[in-house]
Symmetry: C2
Subunit: 395 residues, 2 copies
């Protein structure tokens, strides 16, 4: 009993955490409930039921399958479903009409053959990347509706009336979904994408701002690196940026279905976010290599360390500043005018580093020892380039 | 007209290319057609139709929605659909019975309320990562079936017979899918995952094998780097490894639904592939940083270059060899006994490099110039570590 109680408490805590992490999840669940209950009214109320008959089922089906977390995904699926049903319904009626001309025996053969052909070619078309991305669901519904209409047309005589009813109920279901999705606390994919890109940039910036202090902390400073690392989440936060590609692409895809909202107009250049996201990831790969250097055990001679310390810390701090400013500019949708000074000073710091290294007289020629530090320096120079690129693409 | 002709030729070429890239796509399309036509027979043949009535529609619906490219995905969806329908059907009948006890007026209220509650809680449960990964489709079907059964139960009196018929047709549809999917040229997700991981490793190996020659090619060697780079696909191939996480995870998920096949038994340790995949990606991030160094324009003094050339080329070649052997061992499912020697010699080369650097007397103290080469060297040392880790995890 005690075990059961502990398990239940664990599950409840997980549920609460899930809800607190993103309260929109709770709202979304309630929205689905509302939409479904609204559509069920078609069944309950006698006058509507008499109009639609059993086709009311399709409204319920549409709501359950089409309602998604973001407005874009819901709209995309709804439109796909609507148009695919219309097209496939028309084709199905056509196929049925054509088959009925072939006599009693030819009819099932023609219908079977056309179902096979439509199913095979449509399934193949789903492998085209462009169709897969935007119309995958539509193609599935197309196959489904065509086979249902053409096949059941073989039995039901009032086929046109049936197709008409089915389309109408699907439209009712779709419109209910879209309305509830847009007018009750909408979740816009575009806004999510916008925030995600800015947030990723910020996480990289956090790492860079902290990196200088972490790498050049002299051993005399005291606190053991093992303890401090666990207390510093910014050293691991950036890792989620490395695998952000799939999320960004699906959000951009959903966003392209959305109408104008908030400060985004219709046909907002969502593809630019993908470009910035790619640059973010490039920067994150360099940061990952840099992170490897923190854990390196080779002791860099303190003299050399001192020489490059200033330039390196400056570079990483200024890059961090620039990225933070860029992220803020994206969030507030303005020109990132304050990002140029830090980028410039990061470039100056890179130049300083170059002259330092050129003129540096190496007392002990132990190249091995300074190698790790040199790697850090050159990675930072790369990051400066990358930051510069990001700044340009944000403009 | 000419324009239309060119467009059609373009599309046809694309279709042929898509089919040639992976002939299993064509076969998959034909399989969907076959499964759908088989199920349509339920409608066509009079004795079966009399048994099932309009419920035969659910078999068609199931085939269209459940049939996926890999066996694992099809099985997963089919099982999800079957169990969700069973559970939701039982619950729906229960809710309907309970509601009918509450009298004429209470019935729609109780039913509406229960639909709302089930829909909201189930939708929320989809946000749990574990449920999302394996049972997402099942939850959707659960909501769908529950609302359909409880709602239409309000009208149709023979509710149990209906639920029974519907479940039976769904099972027929599901079994058809799974049978066609397994017995006609099956596409196993597990096999795909297996090959993908090995292939990713090979692509990294190709890069490393070619890298030494590319980076240390002396300018006197002749051929312009711009031309040669386009002729060397291995320099770009590895980029697909960077974003392979999502694909690997979904394949591993599908694979866990699959029964034993070929040389994989049921409950093959698919998670190990994910671990190896993660290490692959870590290696690829380092390779990405290394790739940045190839394009660097800083001229490394040829004297220093000569000194580290042998050790660096050895490291990258031996790592490449080791990874190739590991990839081969994965493909052939045997112990990678031949991978140890190259890993060892890569480690020796790393040691050699260390002593070279320690004893190197630097004639010109221009640190800046050698920095890029030093970075390459230290990244290669990291890659040696990473290769070692991969070798251990493959064992």
């Amino acid at each position: 009993w005690w075990w059961l109680k502990a398990m239940i408490i664990g599950v409840v805590q997980k549920i609460i955490k899930l809800g607190q992490d993103d309260p929109r999840r709770v709202i979304h669940s309630l929205k689905v409930g509302i939409a479904l209950t609204l559509v069920s009214l078609i069944y309950y109320s006698r006058p509507l039921y008499d109009g639609f008959g059993a086709a009311g089922m399709w409204a319920v089906l549409t709501v359950v399958v089409v309602f998604e977390f973001t407005v874009g995904a819901t709209l995309g699926k709804g439109l796909n479903r609507g148009f695919a049903t219309l097209l496939a319904g028309a084709l199905g009626v056509g196929a049925h009409h054509f088959a009925s001309l072939c006599g009693e025996k030819g009819e099932p053969i023609i219908l079977g053959l056309s179902t096979f052909l439509i199913a095979a070619t449509s399934t193949f078309s789903r492998f085209f990347p462009r169709i897969k991305r935007r119309y995958d669901y539509g193609v599935v519904i197309f196959i489904l509706t065509f086979s249902l209409v053409s096949v059941s047309g073989y039995r039901v005589d009032k086929i046109i009336k049936m197709a008409h009813q089915r389309l109408l109920t699907i439209i009712i279901g779709g419109v209910t979904c879209v309305t509830v999705s847009i007018f009750i606390c909408p979740v816009w994919a575009g806004e999510d994408l916008h925030n995600l890109v800015a947030q990723n940039m910020e996480m990289i910036a956090n790492f860079l701002e902290g990196f200088g202090g972490e790498y050049f902390r002299s051993p005399e400073d005291g606190d053991s690196p093992v303890i401090s690392k666990n207390q510093k989440p910014f050293l691991k936060e950036y890792k989620s940026v490395l695998n952000s590609k799939a999320t960004e692409e699906s959000l951009a895809n959903f966003a392209s279905w959305e109408p104008g909202h908030g400060c985004f107009r219709f046909r907002h250049p969502w593809k630019q976010y993908l470009q910035i996201g790619t640059l973010n990831r490039q920067c994150a790969y360099l940061v990952e290599a840099l992170n490897g250097c923190i854990n390196s055990e080779i002791q860099v001679p303190s003299e050399f360390r001192k020489k490059i310390r200033k330039a390196c810390t400056d570079m990483s701090l200024e890059c961090g500043n620039a990225l933070k400013e860029l992220a803020l500019a994206i969030k507030e949708m303005r020109q990132p005018c304050l990002a140029d000074p830090p980028v410039e000073s990061a470039k100056t710091a890179a130049g300083d580093l170059k002259t330092t290294l050129k003129t540096a007289f190496i007392e002990n020629s132990d190249l091995l020892a300074i190698m790790s530090a040199a790697t850090v320096a050159s990675l930072l120079v790369e990051i400066v380039h990358c930051t510069d690129k990001i700044a340009k693409s944000v403009h």
